[in-house]
Amino acid sequence: MAAATSRNIAGDRKWHDVYPELGTGPVPIEPYVSREYYEREQALIFRKVWLNVARVEQIPKAGDYLVKELEVCNTSVLIVHGKDGVIRAFHNMCTHRGNKLAPEASGNCPGLFTCKFHGWAYGLDGALRHISDEGSFFDLDRGALGLTPIVAETWEGFIFINMEERPSETLEEYLGEIGAGLRGYPFGELGATRFAWNAEVKANWKVLKDAFQEVWHIPTLHRKSIPNVFSDAANKYGHALEFRLYGRHGRISLPGNFGRKPTAVESVSVRYGAGAIVIKQSESVLPEGVNPMRDPRWSIDGNSIFPNCLMYVAGQTYLTHTFWPLAENRTRWEVRLYYPQATTLAQRFSQEYSKVMLRDVNMEDGSTLERTQTMLASGARKEIYLQDQELLIRHHHHVAEGYLNAGGGAAR
């Protein structure tokens, strides 16, 4: 496998030959601009599949809760850590007249969620526990009036929900081989230090996803910051070590240019832990799904979890991008970056440098998003053109078409 990947970096093999079912033609612009297409995505993708909404570290104790606004499914989701340790999700809606039950983004509820409108109250398990002025209501069946549940499961500390009443697959089945390969990655340990940013972007959610699931733009777009982080003289555009598709999910494995010259702050920062842009892995203790080629040139894997989550995992840090559609031309972009617990203040400085670099690089990426959307919506052209290193972008469209044409659920 290593021999095959080294040939590919030199450019004499195309990944599209490995996955001929994706085709090589232009990709239509309609999915990026059409309201009708977006409504089909809502109904046939987002309401059908497992969606990654949070990490368990966000609600570590019984009674901890968070609220996830889920515009793409026209609801607000209340996610609660129960007294029995079970994490449950509900529509964040009081049964009485529909007021949003928990208006805050997060908190701890010692026992009862009480609606601030008339005071109906619910247990952490969603059961209706108190009806104010009960004698004035008519024929209520209290047992049937608890919060409306949403199916929730956790995988490696990630909380996923599924809007279907009875999902056709478990979360484990949905994640399949890519999930199995990542099992055992230290997501929990690295969850000790979590940085999080949100941005609302006037662009289709796939414009954002596309931007972060190919890296051959780095020498061009990131020419001032990290032009050669994955590339070097022998691999000018930073071609991947490997692409692999796992049904609806996919992975890009990237080399690191470990010989690049660090800046002054980077070179002091690396001595205290996280502060390198790319870190050479001396000895891999990572699960088999991370750098499965066991290529010594490897630095980071991008795992594309359908439909809207990218999970970049490296040796000592991981980050996720999640793209939440708000409309056909608006997206909430959520970036989460994780490090192990810093044990000293110098280590925490090192993490800060790494974090600032990632954020500034994301600001460079961000410059393209709204400009691209504006021009895609201009109608000037009907198609865009993808090259071999943009395999995951093409793969997304292929998988999405499967859901949209099959009426949802059937695509694998």
């Binding site: 949100n198 941005a199 800046t263 000293t344 670099m357």
Partner: protein, 108 residues
Amino acid sequence: MGEHQLPEQFVGLEPFLDWALATEHERVARRQSAGMPAIRDFYGAMMARIEEILTFLEGYAIEKIPAAVNRLFLLTLSLAEVAPAVELFSQPSVIDGFDFKRFVPVHD
């Protein structure tokens, strides 16, 4: 005798104490508003002592930090914040980048 604001061996950095900011939001705002001469002065003063500073901070665990040590630590976070401005962009902001104000940290 007045208390020093920074650990004694680093009191020479006290002119830069307005960079000792607790949140990313504040550090970004200062990076955006201070102007490059002030950013370069701060960067230069910190980098002149950075080896000693980090050796010193390596001796402190994350919890229960004395106030003076915490101020020094916050200065290093601002150094991390301005590093790309000085080392990569030669201007406070990312060149032609997305607006920092719209990329909102929700971890502070």
